[in-house]
Structure formats: C-alpha cells, structure tokens
C-alpha cells in the first residue's frame, strides 16, 4: 500500500506523542525511586536526580522483608509455571492429537469455564481450602495449575497443535511409538514457541496476581511481592521515594522477562486474538 509523505509524517508525530505519554509514567517511577524527598517535592519538578539516591532501594527493600516476599513469589511462580506447562501441554495433546469419542464435546464444556467470572468460584474454593487446612499456605495458589493449567492455555496450545500435520504421528505409530513418545519427542519440540508463550503469560499472571495471595495468605512471612508492596504502601503512605523504589523493584523482573521474550509475546497475543 502506498502512503503519502504527509500521512506518514503525521502518523510518525502522533506515534511520538503517544510514545512519550506511555513512557512518562516509567520515567517518573524511575526518577522518583532514586531521589530523596526534598528533591521529589521541588517545584517545578526536576526530571534528573542530583545526586542519585540508590540507597532508596536498599532502604525500601529492607524496612519490609522484601527478600522473603521475593523468595515466596519465586516459589509460587516457579511451581505454577511447572504445573501449567506440563498439564496444559498434556491436556492440549489429548484434545487435539488423539481422536476419541466425546473429545470435542468435553472440550466445549471446559471452554465454557472461560465465561465464568472468577468471583463465582472464589468463595467456595476459599472455604474448601480452609476446611482441609490449607489456608495461609501456598497450595491454593499452586495446586490448580497442576490440573489443566487453565483452559485458556489449553485452548492456545490446542490451536497450535492442530496446525501440525497428523502424518508425523502416523509415521511414529508405524515405527512403534506410543502416545507418550509422540507427545514428548514430536509435539513438544515442534511447539516450543507456543509453550514459551504459555510460560511467559503464566509467569506474568502469577507474578502479578494480587487477589489470590490477598485471600489465601495471612501471615506477613508468606506474603508475595504484590501483597508486600501493598502492605508497604499502607505503612509508608507519603514516602514516595521509597514507595517508588519498591514499585520499581517489583516491576523490573517483569520488564526483563518481557524484553527477553518479546517476540513470543507478540506472537502469542496474535495467536489468541486471531481466532476471535
């Protein structure tokens, strides 16, 4: 498609303005995180910290046990990641590469769960976990990942598996392979990028989860970063320097993971949206 010079220039300028608007909150976060309060409150506001107060990070991350929160978050995220990747690829395999009676009907029923607001299952799930003595443990946050890993992930992987020629499986069968070998040696290697997409979204979903930890975790020592940050806000209301340092520390891992896996992210969102 040919586009006129004028139109391109106008579009470019518009994008520049949008980009600035989207970046300013990040800049503001970073610059506030390395200033002391006297610098933060200067009017008109200074954009460049002089001097840099990197010790904000040290202070913010020690007044509240962020080290423990970080460890808790890592344990939860890693466990959820493992469970989700294993159980969603296995389920997607069963829903796409094996042809069995009732398969598509059952899949449709499972898909309907996506329409259900989380609020409906929230209260009984909470009561259930509490009854069996797992309130204030990581289990309610981790165990569900091992049972299917979320229908959305199964859907995404199934879409991908359906595009891989069935002939591969047939050939493997002829060579005497069983379903497990086909899953492990053919499907998984061929769907690496889709698995990475699922892993990335799962990482972010679990890292960013707020409601789950809020409901299931009670002791400070078991808090996650998201919960810890919120608690921090409660006790350091006007300490914007420390609040921003703590926020930056929570945001940073997400940004790093995103920048590393960027290509897969964009692919993955496209994969989910195109089927709409």
């Amino acid at each position: 498609m040919r586009e006129s010079r004028l139109k391109l220039t106008a579009g470019y300028i518009a994008l520049l303005i949008v980009a600035v608007l989207f970046i300013v909150p990040f800049v503001w976060l970073l610059r506030s995180s390395v200033m002391d309060l006297s610098q933060i409150f200067i009017m008109p506001p200074a954009w460049w910290p002089r001097p840099f107060h990197f010790e904000n990070f040290k202070e913010a991350l020690t007044v509240v046990p962020f080290g423990a929160f970080f460890k808790n978050t890592l344990i939860i995220v890693a466990s959820v990641l493992l469970g989700t990747v294993v159980s969603s690829t296995v389920a997607a395999f069963g829903f796409s590469r094996i042809r069995w009676k009732g398969r598509d009907a059952i899949f449709a029923v499972l898909m309907s769960a996506m329409m259900l607001p989380g609020a409906v299952t929230l209260i009984p799930s909470f009561i259930g976990w509490k009854e069996i003595g797992f309130y204030d443990t990581f289990y309610p946050l981790i165990v569900p990942a091992y049972f299917g890993g979320g229908i959305f992930n199964i859907f995404l992987l199934r879409q991908f598996y359906l595009t891989i020629p069935q002939d591969f499986d047939e050939a493997a069968f002829v060579d005497g392979a069983n379903y497990f070998q086909i899953y492990w040696r053919i499907l998984l290697p061929l769907s690496r990028s889709a698995v990475i997409v699922v892993a990335l979204f799962t990482f972010l979903g679990s890292w960013n989860d707020f409601m789950g930890p809020l409901i299931y975790l009670k002791s400070d020592s078991r808090f996650t970063l998201a919960l810890g940050l919120q608690m921090f806000q409660g006790s350091y209301t006007a300490q914007w320097d420390l609040l921003m340092a703590a926020s930056a520390a929570v945001v940073l891992p997400c940004v790093v993971v995103f920048l590393i896996g960027q290509r897969y992210f964009l692919e993955g969102i496209t994969l989910t949206g195109l089927k709409g």
């Binding site: 586009e3 009984p124 379903y179 969102i269």
Partner: protein, 316 residues
C-alpha cells in the same frame, strides 16, 4: 480454515477399517491425557460453581456455628432495595464499563492504525505501547497514585504550569471513576496488538482497488478497514466488557471504594462482603448476580454481532 480441513480427515477410509481396539485405545489415552484438566474443571470450576449457588441460598457466615438454608432471601434482600451499597456498586461498575469499553476499543484501534503504518521504528513504538500492560496492577496503581496526587503529582503540576484547571482525580467524588479508567488505559497494549494482528490480515489488493477508484484514506477506513476488522472489534469488545465488570486490584489499591463509596466496584464490594464482613452466603448471591449480568451483556453483543460483524467466509 486449515484446521477444519484437517479435522475432516477423521473420515479417512484407512482409519475406519481399523478394529475398534484402536478406538478403545484412543479413548483410553485421550481420557488419560485430558484427565487432569477434566478433574481440574470438576474440582475447581464446576464443584465450586454448584457450591456457590447453594451457598447463595444460605446465610453462611464464617463466625456463625450454624448455617441455615434461607431460600432466595439473599436475592430478595438484593432486589428489594434493602442493600443500598449493592445498587451503589452496580451503578459504579456500569458507569465504569460504559466509560471504559468504548475508550479502550476506540483508542486501541487508533493506536493499531498508527502502528500499522509503514513508519520508521515501528517495532520500537509497538514495544513502548505494549510494555505498560505487563506491569503488575499493584505497581501500576502505585505509580498512578503518585502521578495523580492532587498536591504534588506530576499531572496536576503540569496542568498548573499550563494554567489549566487541576483535578482531585482519585480523591474527587465525580472524578474518581474517569481517573481509574484513565489509569487502566495505560495498560491497553494487549488490545492494541490484537487489533494490529487483525489489521495485518487485510489483503492489500482491497486498498489498491480504492486507489484505482480515486478514494482517499477516509474511504479506505470506512469501507475496507473497519468492516474487515469487525471480528477483531467483536472479540476485543467481549473481552473488555468481561474484564471491566471484574475490576478489583485497581479498586482495592487506588481507592478502597472511596471517596464516599463512589468507586465501590462490584467485585470489590463482593470481596469486602465475603472476606471482611464474612457474609459468604450473601456474597455468593452477589457473585451470581455478576455472573448473570456478564452473561447477559455477552449475549447481547453476540446477538447484535450478526448485523455488524463481517466474516470473510460468509460469502463462500
């Protein structure tokens, strides 16, 4: 298209000739592979769903020894106007949805149009626009609390510098909902990328046809781009509606329902009823009301979609 063609292979004669033992084996392994997901559905979705409905018919409260079955009394309490906060939270949430859904759809569509142009540094712009959407809600809320701080925040400081009227933003009764909408627009990136995918699927020849006919950009937008992305608009609208009705983290961290309950979102009210006031029976009734509302709106969008969503395959 490709997918359905492949699905059709099941009727291949070679496969049909095989004995039923292979079918039985397939059924066994099929169920084996999918059993964790099916169990998960039964334990973590269907079971709680049934339990939730039952709870909504009781006066279950964590601190009460006995739970009584009270029929539809919880629902009666909701709809007879006894619970003012219920109406307040419903109104707040509707207002938020009405404001947010069109804003998200229009703005992300325009951003996708811009990103779809052949400008230099496209991928950099795309990354910048997507990046905020991966920021944890707790952290982005913190950033916005600071940016929108009425006295010292950047936004009001800039407005003052430009001699424009300032606002109390999250602390004003009338400005709190638009402010929360504003903060969530920062995380619009995912929707933009889905639109972008929809746009890139439009065949170039269609635009060339308009070039030949001497039509301008408006004609292209009106007669090709918009009709061709209606399936994407449809998908994004449904997802945005469902998401907007369930907003929680932002409500919890930004305002805690304040000021004066003006940002008492439905799910926040539900959480408060269940986990602070421990009225879990009543909160379950709230959850079902939300479920029905979301189903209703999704249904409406689906129903109307026939008249405005254009599918390429339809003509075939």
């Amino acid at each position: 298209m490709e997918i359905s063609a492949r699905d059709g292979q099941q009727a291949r004669p070679a496969a049909r000739k095989k004995t039923t033992s292979r079918e039985r084996k397939a059924l066994f392994y099929g169920l084996l592979f999918t059993s964790p997901a099916i169990l998960g559905f039964l334990i973590f979705t269907l079971g709680p769903m049934v339990a939730s409905f039952y709870l909504s018919l009781t006066d279950y409260n964590v601190f009460k020894d006995k739970t009584a079955f009270i029929g539809f009394a919880n629902y009666a309490k909701l709809f007879t106007g006894e619970d003012e906060l219920f109406y307040q939270s419903l109104g707040t949430t509707f207002y938020f949805v009405v404001l947010r859904v069109p804003a998200v759809i229009v703005i992300s569509f325009v951003l996708a149009l811009l990103l779809n142009m052949n400008v230099k540094g496209r991928s950099v712009f795309r990354t910048i626009i997507y990046l905020p959407s991966i920021v944890p809600a707790v952290a982005s809320s913190m950033i916005w609390l600071w940016l929108l701080n009425p006295d010292l925040g950047l936004v009001n400081t800039m407005l003052r510098g430009l001699h424009l009227p300032t606002s109390n933003w999250l602390f004003g009764e009338s400005s709190v909902i638009p402010s929360i909408v504003l903060t969530t627009l920062w995380g619009i990136g995912g929707t933009v990328i889905i639109f972008l995918a929809g746009l890139s699927g439009i065949p170039k020849q269609y635009y060339e046809a308009i070039d030949v006919d001497g039509g301008g950009w408006y004609h292209k937008l009106r007669h090709i781009t918009i009709p061709m992305v209606t399936p994407t608009i449809f998908f994004n609208t449904i997802m945005t509606i469902i998401g907007s009705f369930q907003v929680f983290s932002e409500a919890y961290i930004l305002t805690q329902g304040g000021p004066n309950n003006k940002s008492l979102f439905f799910v926040f009210y539900l959480w408060r009823t269940a986990f602070r006031d421990t009225e879990m029976g009543y909160a379950s009734a709230l959850a079902w009301v939300l479920f029905v509302i979301i189903l209703f709106f999704t249904f409406i969008v689906f129903k109307t979609s026939k008249s405005w969503v254009h599918y390429e395959g339809d003509r075939a």
